[in-house]
Symmetry: C4
Subunit: 237 residues, 4 copies
């Protein structure tokens, strides 16, 4: 996850471009899936799942060695907490992720002839939805922390596979990412979320990330920083 | 498969959390698949298969280096038989797997607004079903033993791929895991199994595991313990 | 592909068990797919494809280090031609593959409540079908020879992915394997082939294998044996 | 990506055979998908996506160590720009890719009983389609350049996964390849493109490739050639 060879400006651009392509994949494949599926929501979601999981794995393989390929402010916070990127780098990471996410939504809309931005009317409210996001985010951060320290090479595959699974096993279809959630509020298509429902998603995502980080700090016996740096050194060879 | 760096308490928690997420994936994606598939059971099972196989691979990559990522009492027994974990550690592993499995079912029910637990009415009885579980478990343990000693890096992918395939090529949809079977008895949704049908599943799963272990002990020429320990040492580097 | 550590009897048993599980996967998932798909042949074939490709990759990872995981008499012939297994070992390999293939079909039938064996009435005749098998087999042997010498680690993934693709891009759904073809003649289900159509399939498969082998011998500049042996030595470390 | 051990003639043949099999996969699976899907375009495109992504990964694993497995004139141009293959080798690569692509279309037509070549009547025109190709090609070249220098081993998986995703998240279904585009103009089946719409696709693909290359030259700090050669040297070990 944490790689420190590239300058901050280069890493921030990598985060922005990667998050942009990720959102284009999420939103674009949702539109295509719904248009072609003839009303069968499972087929539309299968297409959306396949595209999201495959794009996510490919983009982490592409940008991971440059910036860590977080594409997710919650992951950047966890990484800073674990001694990966510096705390002062988090705002740059998060800003780039947000800017990239909104640009990716706009790109998807341009490709499919939709208005550049439009608030979603897709309701995703209630406790079961929030609990779903807590589970989704807990699982995502667990996969990242579990793999990144001991199994770094297959991390991109593990993350893509996990998100593909979580699209189906959480009732919220696993946003698990504050930048993705905010950007999906401005697409009134298959993958959108009503702006009113965003705050509960963000809170649940952060809670899930904190729980997973606490679990893995305990499993790692209280010395995550050192282990993480050695993993970094290994990446940098 | 066997990794001995973490303390037993940490490994047992890893088994519980991992098995919990696995059951959430199995049961949750079954509910989502059935709700969205418009009555087409093949589409629902495709979604259930995709989510289960992808989650299983991701979770083994995540927890494998900590606890071995058995998530399955039959696999823990096989591992003890092969000289991996100690026999006295098996009860702790199995208890954590069972507790995690039931918690995962409850989590899926909470996410999808189902009652916390409900006995399944899904009949899965008869000799063909039991034979299916024997085949499913024989294949699963063969994949684990064949890969773990000679091909450890891709084991998580092989196991996830095998289970995804076995969802379709066995008539029982390949439970192949006593903890999974018991926990699926308390979900009255797509992936459930009637409690009356559980004992035959458990017996067939254990028989399949024993057959596969015997086969690989013969293939390995009677010195599995030594080879297994060297694989462990390699993992621990 | 070629590994020579295990005794011939152990390798032959590995070929038989692996081919048996492969045929159970091919035939069993075809039955399950057709039963659940509600008459949509594309959905049935998607399930059959997913199960076959995933099972094939998992089984090659499992048995490859023991016997080479040919599961295919044409591949065993190519391997002997390239200096892998000895020519005198080919009959044992082929006999085990055939016995395993028929046992796997019987196992699938037992799991799904079908008669143990039944001749197929599924017509697959004509020049386009035979040409399809030539293309399928040419591609399969190309993938094996291209990967095995220069890229051995991902060979199991490449072979499974190739066969999954070829199920869809050849008009015959890519049998590409004489043992598979003969065994599929005795299942009167989704994946069957009428016995009368078998000989043309076998001839085309062998022709495709010869063409691919000739191509790669030329690409390798006429010294395949040496290169293959060095790849073997690398596997054997 | 760039491998220089094989003679140019051998590399050019590898590019031709690989591109031929790729086009057979794209066109053949489109025909099969449409024939079996019972009018559901999403199911047909899912089959087309699965076959294309899986075949592409398998073929890059097969031919990558021989020729680099570009299968794409835009990629060969980028590779020459980055100091991979020599500029004087580009025409040979492109000619082989084009010849292979048309032969692959013909092979698919023979397998499925279609006329050898037929101009497509499938309209894919307008700014949204061209913008889609720009995005598709920008993403493809980003994945190739991002992975090839720092993450060469999983490049084949990343490229196949990216293209599978882009089939769904771009409105044009991501041709992203001039040779593929020209060859798909002569199939009047699912995957075809009207000859009149080809020029805008080619221009957008080249523009996307240039943008991605410029981005990665900046990220790499202006010394791509040196880094690329070191990656090459690593491949050649």
């Amino acid at each position: 996850m944490p790689v420190t060879r590239a300058s901050l400006s280069r890493r921030v651009v990598a985060e922005g471009v990667g998050t942009g392509l990720l959102l284009a994949a999420v939103v674009g494949s949702g539109i295509m899936g719904e248009r072609l599926a003839g009303g069968n929501a499972a087929i539309a979601l299968l297409a959306n799942t396949l595209a999201t999981g495959a794009a996510l794995s490919a983009l982490i393989l592409t940008f991971g060695p440059i910036s860590g390929a977080h594409f997710n402010p919650a992951v950047s916070l966890v990484d800073a907490w674990q001694g990966g990127i510096a705390w002062r780098e988090v705002p740059g990471y998060a800003a780039a992720q947000l800017a990239g996410a909104f640009a990716g939504v706009a790109a998807a809309h341009l490709m499919f002839g939709e208005p550049l931005f439009a608030f979603s009317t897709h309701a995703r409210s209630g406790g079961a939805q929030a609990f779903s996001e807590l589970v989704a985010s807990f699982g995502l951060v667990s996969v990242i922390l579990g793999c990144a320290r001991r199994n770094p090479d297959p991390t991109p595959i593990a993350v893509g596979a996990y998100i593909a699974a979580a699209y189906w096993f959480t009732a919220s279809t696993s946003f698990a990412n504050p930048a993705v959630t905010l950007a999906r509020a401005v697409t009134n298509t298959f993958s959108g979320i009503r702006p009113d429902d965003v705050p509960a998603f963000l809170a649940a995502q952060l809670a899930g990330a904190v729980l997973a980080t606490a679990l893995f700090r305990w499993i790692d016996g209280g010395e995550p920083g050192r282990q993480l740096r050695s993993a970094t050194a290994r990446d940098a060879i």
